[in-house]
Symmetry: C2
Subunit: 474 residues, 2 copies
Amino acid sequence: MSSALAGELRSILGDDGVLDRQLELHVYGKDSGITRGEPSVVAFPESTEDVVAVVKAAKRHGVSVVARGSGTGLAGGAVPLEPSLILALTRMNEIEVVDVENRSAWVGPGVINLDLSNHTYSDGLHFAPDPSSQSVCTIGGNIANNAGGLHCLSEGNTVNHVLALEVVTADGDVIELGGPAPDPIGLDLRAVMVGSEGTLGIVTRALIKLTPNPTAARTLLMSFRSVEDAAKTVSDVIAAGVIPAALEMMDRLMTVAVERFIDAGFPTDAEAVLLAEVSGHEAAVEAEAEIIRAIADDNNAIEARVASDAKERQRMWLGRKSAFGAIAQMNPDYYLHDTVVPRTKLVEMMRNIYEIAERHQITMLNVFHAGDGNLHPLMSFDASEEGVIERVKAAADELLAICVALGGSLSGEHGIGLEKRDSMGLVFNEYDLDAQARISEAFDPDGSMNPNKVLPSGSRCFDFGRPIPEGTWV
Amino acid sequence: MSSALAGELRSILGDDGVLDRQLELHVYGKDSGITRGEPSVVAFPESTEDVVAVVKAAKRHGVSVVARGSGTGLAGGAVPLEPSLILALTRMNEIEVVDVENRSAWVGPGVINLDLSNHTYSDGLHFAPDPSSQSVCTIGGNIANNAGGLHCLSEGNTVNHVLALEVVTADGDVIELGGPAPDPIGLDLRAVMVGSEGTLGIVTRALIKLTPNPTAARTLLMSFRSVEDAAKTVSDVIAAGVIPAALEMMDRLMTVAVERFIDAGFPTDAEAVLLAEVSGHEAAVEAEAEIIRAIADDNNAIEARVASDAKERQRMWLGRKSAFGAIAQMNPDYYLHDTVVPRTKLVEMMRNIYEIAERHQITMLNVFHAGDGNLHPLMSFDASEEGVIERVKAAADELLAICVALGGSLSGEHGIGLEKRDSMGLVFNEYDLDAQARISEAFDPDGSMNPNKVLPSGSRCFDFGRPIPEGTWV
């Protein structure tokens, strides 16, 4: 079956557009998380027409379709759970039209996040979502996961930056969702598609809303003797009516790791470091930076300083963005968690994180978007160590349950994928999940688009009834 | 059938909670638009449980359900097109919990828009969407129509201010969509529900995101010798990186009407007047107001002045908000249109508007949200005049077609309802509409929730097949 499909795909895409040798396939069996699957064939479409033809071919062969960008996802969203066709969208990377006056651009799903911002920089515009992976992740992947980033505190996640989507449905029809106007008319399927992780259809083009580059910005580095003081500073800043463009926290283990890796100028004796950035009008950022500094002082900051020039500012942010590189030096493996608590529960959650880390004997470092309560506890380990995976998994499950119990959520920006699929019941009851499953079924009646992701098996009374493969982690 | 249903409703809601006498029903047969229908019975639930019981009773009796707030809608969304149960949600008007720290509040759908902002004012918070009807319209209605308002240029429409929704489905199940965290997990049905105009289910509670009150604001009044100069000022302001909280345009006919009605201090000899408001930090608003003033001067403004105090500022906005009252004095009837063009097409669209008005011999005034290209051509007429309705309708259809041809949209904030249902094909093709119809059917398989609204008949291959009543306008 699979080789017949591969042959058909070759007739559509050419030899260069299809991979089906075992070794080649292996690379496409996982994302940046820790689950692995095995694809049957990988297709590289270069146009919407290619995607239509490939989806129809897969349908004829009864093979499910899993869309994939750069594979930087962490939740297993791009991992095939059954022999599937991987639709690798990286060649659909054209920035078609930039409409500077209306601040928008039609782009292909394979455009690299940072490439778009670089492309529009001289027009004074950029794509606001800036995940840490922005130099490699694709905009299609950002859309699939409703990705966030450092600057999403003031600008919002990807859904706020997508005006319209061209989508190839499970039947191979081409539909357009949303439109250039800010208020979508009819049923807002654009927002359902964003964050649906390839389960509803394949995004083949996106009309992106571009954001003006800030005219002025200030970055502050603040250090504290306790996580409590840092968290209180976060709450007080927001309460003062200042919404920084970014407001990031690192704990001591993390700043130590970063300073071992590069010289970012982070203090290694402070229990917590905050990085804040305000942007906008020159006069406003000056005043807002001063407000933040004063609040940090009131909360017993060891130091609270504004970067004196662009070079120092870049150095501070380089430190933050090097966190994952720093971790990679510590141990061969890491597991990066992504959960959300109300901002007011940050201190309580951090205490829980440290308690769980200690009890499970796991090195857990923290670097996260404090402004919106989006935590990223990062567990560093060596997977070859006996029993460590089980401990990491137990710790991750406990973290998730506590976040939800504190009024939080399963995920802030990395998606549900496979990793958190079976935890959806912590947040939604059977009726809530049934409503989502009905929508999924309305788009994809055969369950052929990235099957068994996002929604737990059994969400629907008359469920698709596919078995969940054993042996996958989470 | 209907009287049996009324009896059953009385046993659920009490005598006080049901209306079914002809004269009483008449009031609930229309919204603020110009289409009329005839309801069978009106129910006033006071709780989610009431709504569940009423929806289940209607289902047993095979009667469709049309939700209604204050009836200020303009697109016929709350008009029953077949003998229906009107679910009047005005008694579900409790502001349950205001969480000041996390800036959110659970409210009932019957809460009046302005009541919520007044309630939270002393906590430094407000509900950002501020339609002109905000002193009477309900938050449930705002959600149903994804309402906008003067200040939605910087803050976005209602969908940006709703975190979670409790919904009673067509089956009478209670589901929760979205959640307190800013990034919705799973399929984002919250956004589909917002703007679905009661066709997918009944919103019984909403978790509203509250916005900090601005610490400082400046209002500017600018007048111009031509609409072109005013429109150019709008484009230049946005291009300069200033996003005003509000940016409103009025043409001469409108300012004259307003000045006849109240003394707002608007010049009556200018072809166009712009009102702009900037809000935020004191230093920023001072600087931004100066930028706007200078841009207006560069575009040949007759005058461009900043309100010197709160009193003058209020007077300017009172003038803008009195536009519809002023119109009511001119003629017994008016038809307020709501369309969108890209900001860069404002001048071209205004020329078309004047040409259409002249050709159809209709008094057409303009007051609109210039910043986001959301036009509100307002036709003033006396419906008793022979043939005028036909001319108004023809003009409205032409306006809509031109807006779409210029890259715009059918509606900016008033919804699709009945009025623009049959124009959806201007924007969406059959596949797009089929996707929306599938979602509608997934939520409401029997087509019993506000039937025959939003989506044109025949959107779906296996359409519900209900006849569209004749004799309704539009």
